[in-house]
C-alpha cells in the first residue's frame, strides 16, 4: 500500500513498515530544548538518574526570555547553562536567535529527519520535508535517556494550494486564511501535507512561516514535499547528504482539500483566537498602539526587507511603538549589511536582540491596559503578551509596517 511522507519517515525510524494510526516506538534524530521549559526538563532528567543517551542528538537554545529580566529567570537559565556544559550539549546562547530559526538556518534539519522539541512550534521544520513536532518536558527526558519516543503515526490531510499568490499577499496570509477555513481544531492529531504551485513558488523562508502555524489548527506536523529549491538552500548550510521524501502516488489520505489562492487578500486574526480570521479590509482604520515585527513566524530577512521597503525614508506615527526583533544573529547582521536596520531605526523603530521578544509575554514589550498590538507572531490569546487587558491582532510583516505609518490598520497594497 502506498505511503504518505509521514508514514515513510516513521517507517524509516521504526525499522518496520508502519501506517497511520499505528502506535510506534521511533528513533528520534534530534531533540530541542530552550530556556522556557529547560529547567523543568533538567529537573525531571536528574530525577530519572539515567545517563544521557547521545549528546549529539540534543540542542538547547536560550531564546525565550533573553536577556534575563530578573533573578528568578537567571536562575532558571543558569541551570540550563550548567547542564549543557556538564553534558557537552550544544547550546545556542542568548542573542544567537530563536530555536525555530537556528535549527533550519544552521543545517541541523534534513529532509526525512524525525525531530521533537519542548516547543509547540517545532512543527516549523516540516517546511524542510522533515517530521517535527512539539512535546513536553517529560517526553524530552524520555528522548534524552533512550533516544526514542512513542508516537501515534498521524493520519495525513493533503492540502493543495493552487493558483498564483497576488502582489502584496504573503505566506502569513496563506496560513491565516487556512486557519480561518479549518479552525483551531480543524486538524487535531493530523499531519498536513502541503502541495501545489503556491508552495512550489514560495521561498524557503516563507514555507517556514506556513509550517510554523499548523499547530494553531491542532496539527501534529505540516510537511512539504521539498524540491530543487530546498536542496540548494540546504546545500549552503550542511555537508550532509540530502534525500527528499516523496509521497507515493497511491498514498492514502484522510482527506484531500483544494484551495485556489489567486484572489487571496491580506488576512488578519482578531483577538483573542488564532482562528478568528477575516479579510484585513474589515479592520482597516482601527487604532493600533504597538507593532511587533519578528518571532519564529515572521522574523526572517525577507520579512525585514518588506518592512524596510515600506518604511524607508518615512516616519512611524507619533505615539506608535514598533518593535523589531530579527529571528537570529545571522539575520540581524544581514539586515545591517543591507541597510535595513538603519532604515527601520530612522523610521522610529526599536530593535530588540534576536530571540522571542515580547511574543510569550514574559518581558520587553508588554502592552498597557486596553492597548492594541498588531503582531507578526502566531498567537493572539488573551494575556499572551503579558497583559490580559490588551488586544492582539496577527498579520503579515507588510501589514505591521504599513500600519506603523499611521498608527491605524492600513492595507499594505496601498502603501507600496
Amino acid at each position: 500500500m502506498g505511503q504518505t511522507i509521514v508514514e515513510k519517515i516513521f517507517s524509516a525510524h521504526c525499522g518496520q513498515e508502519v501506517q497511520a494510526n499505528d502506535l510506534v516506538m521511533a528513533n528520534v534524530d534530534l531533540v530541542l530544548g530552550h530556556d522556557y521549559n529547560g529547567a523543568l526538563t533538567i529537573d525531571i532528567f536528574n530525577e530519572l538518574n539515567k545517563p544521557l543517551c547521545d549528546k549529539d542528538k540534543v540542542i538547547f537554545v536560550m531564546d525565550h526570555v533573553v536577556p534575563s529580566p530578573s533573578e528568578d529567570y537567571s536562575r532558571l537559565q543558569g541551570k540550563v547553562r550548567r547542564f549543557t556544559a556538564e553534558h557537552e550539549i550544544k547550546l545556542y546562547e542568548m542573542g544567537d536567535g530563536i530555536c525555530h530559526q537556528l535549527l533550519p538556518q544552521n543545517g541541523h534539519i534534513l529532509p526525512g529527519d524525525l525531530i521533537v522539541g519542548t516547543d509547540s512550534h517545532t512543527c516549523t521544520y516540516g517546511a524542510l520535508n522533515a517530521f517535527s513536532t512539539g512535546v513536553g518536558s517529560t517526553d524530552m527526558v524520555a528522548v534524552l535517556a533512550t533516544g526514542k519516543l512513542w508516537f501515534r503515526v498521524p493520519e495525513t490531510v493533503k492540502i493543495f494550494l493552487n493558483g498564483k499568490l497576488p502582489e502584496g499577499v504573503y505566506a502569513k496570509d496563506i496560513i491565516l486564511y487556512l486557519l480561518g477555513q479549518l479552525s483551531a481544531k480543524g486538524a487535531i492529531y493530523e499531519a498536513i501535507e502541503f502541495s501545489g504551485p503556491v508552495i512550489d513558488n514560495l521561498e524557503i523562508d516563507d514555507r517556514l512561516t506556513v509550517s510554523n502555524m499548523v499547530v494553531e489548527m491542532g496539527a501534529k506536523a505540516g510537511i512539504m514535499p521539498g524540491d530543487e529549491k530546498l536542496i540548494t538552500w540546504l546545500k549552503s548550510r550542511t555537508d550532509r547528504e540530502v534525500n527528499l521524501v516523496k509521497p507515493d502516488e497511491d498514498a492514502v489520505y484522510k482527506k484531500v482539500m483544494h484551495f485556489d489562492l489567486s484572489n487571496l487578500v491580506p488576512q488578519v486574526a482578531k483577538p483573542h483566537n488564532v482562528d478568528n480570521v477575516t479579510d484585513l479590509a474589515e479592520v482597516i482604520g482601527a487604532k493600533v498602539n504597538q507593532g511587533v515585527l519578528g518571532t519564529c513566524t515572521n522574523g526572517r530577512i525577507q520579512d525585514l526587507r518588506i518592512a524596510a521597503e515600506i518604511l524607508r525614508g518615512k516616519t512611524i506615527a507619533r505615539g506608535f511603538r514598533l518593535l523589531v526583533i530579527p529571528a537570529s544573529r545571522e539575520i540581524l547582521i544581514q539586515a545591517i549589511h543591507e541597510g535595513i536596520i538603519e532604515d527601520l531605526l530612522n523610521a522610529g523603530a526599536t530593535v530588540l536582540p534576536p530571540g522571542c521578544g515580547p511574543c510569550a509575554g514574559a518581558h520587553g514589550g508588554v502592552p498597557d491596559d486596553g492597548e492594541v498590538v498588531l503582531s507578526t507572531a502566531n498567537r493572539n490569546f488573551k494575556g499572551r503578551m503579558g497583559n490580559n487587558q490588551a488586544f492582539i491582532y496577527l498579520a503579515s510583516p507588510a501589514v505591521v509596517a504599513a500600519s506603523a505609518l499611521t498608527g491605524t490598520v492600513v492595507d499594505p497594497r496601498e502603501v507600496f
Binding site: 512535546v135 533512550t146 483551531a184 491542532g218 510569550a360
Partner: protein, 163 residues
C-alpha cells in the same frame, strides 16, 4: 476506584496560556506558588475556588497552544484530579498522561459548572450525580494505560527503557 468531585466548566479551545500564563514562568522554581496563578487571566480568583478532588471540564480542543508542561502540572498541583473534554490538543494530552493526570475524552455537553461527578476509570463511566446521567469514557490505547498505571512516564522509564 471512583473519584468524586465538583465541576469547573470551560468552553472550547482553552489554551495552555490560559491555564498558566507565560508571565508566571519565573515562578516555576516553586510549583505551589505557580499553581496559585492557574487560569488567572480568565478569572483572577480561580485558585481560591478549587476544592481538592475537583474536575476541569472543557469542550473541544482543550489544552491547545504552547507545549508547556507546566499547564497539566499546575492542574495537578492545585488539587484538581482529572480533565474531561470532547477533544484535547495532542501535546497537552501527552503531557497530562506523562505526569499521571487523567485526561478523559467524553461528551461534556450535559455537564454544568458545580455538578458533582463520580468517575470510574476502570469501568470507563462518568456519573453525573446532579443530573442522574451517565457518559461512557473513550478507552485508552494500551501504551497509555501502561504509562498511567505506573503513575506517569517518568516512573515507567525508571523501570523500563522503552525496550
Amino acid at each position: 476506584m471512583s473519584m468524586f468531585g465538583q465541576v469547573h466548566k470551560f468552553g472550547d479551545d482553552i489554551n495552555t496560556d490560559y491555564i498558566i500564563a507565560g508571565k508566571y514562568r519565573s515562578l516555576s522554581g516553586d510549583m505551589a506558588k505557580m499553581a496559585t496563578k492557574i487560569f488567572a487571566d480568565l478569572d483572577p480568583d480561580f485558585y481560591q475556588k478549587i476544592q481538592p478532588g475537583d474536575f476541569i471540564v472543557g469542550g473541544e480542543n482543550f489544552g491547545c497552544g504552547s507545549s508547556r508542561e507546566y499547564a497539566p502540572r499546575v492542574i495537578l498541583e492545585s488539587g484538581l484530579k482529572a480533565v474531561l473534554a470532547k477533544s484535547f490538543a495532542r501535546i497537552f494530552y501527552r503531557n497530562s498522561i506523562n505526569i499521571g493526570l487523567p485526561v478523559i475524552i467524553c461528551n461534556t455537553d450535559g455537564i454544568e459548572a458545580g455538578d458533582q461527578l463520580e468517575i470510574d476509570l476502570e469501568l470507563g463511566v462518568i456519573r453525573n450525580l446532579d443530573k442522574g446521567t451517565e457518559e461512557k469514557i473513550t478507552p485508552y490505547p494500551a501504551i497509555i494505560n501502561t504509562i498511567l498505571s505506573k503513575g506517569g512516564l517518568l516512573e515507567y522509564l525508571k523501570s523500563d527503557n522503552f525496550s
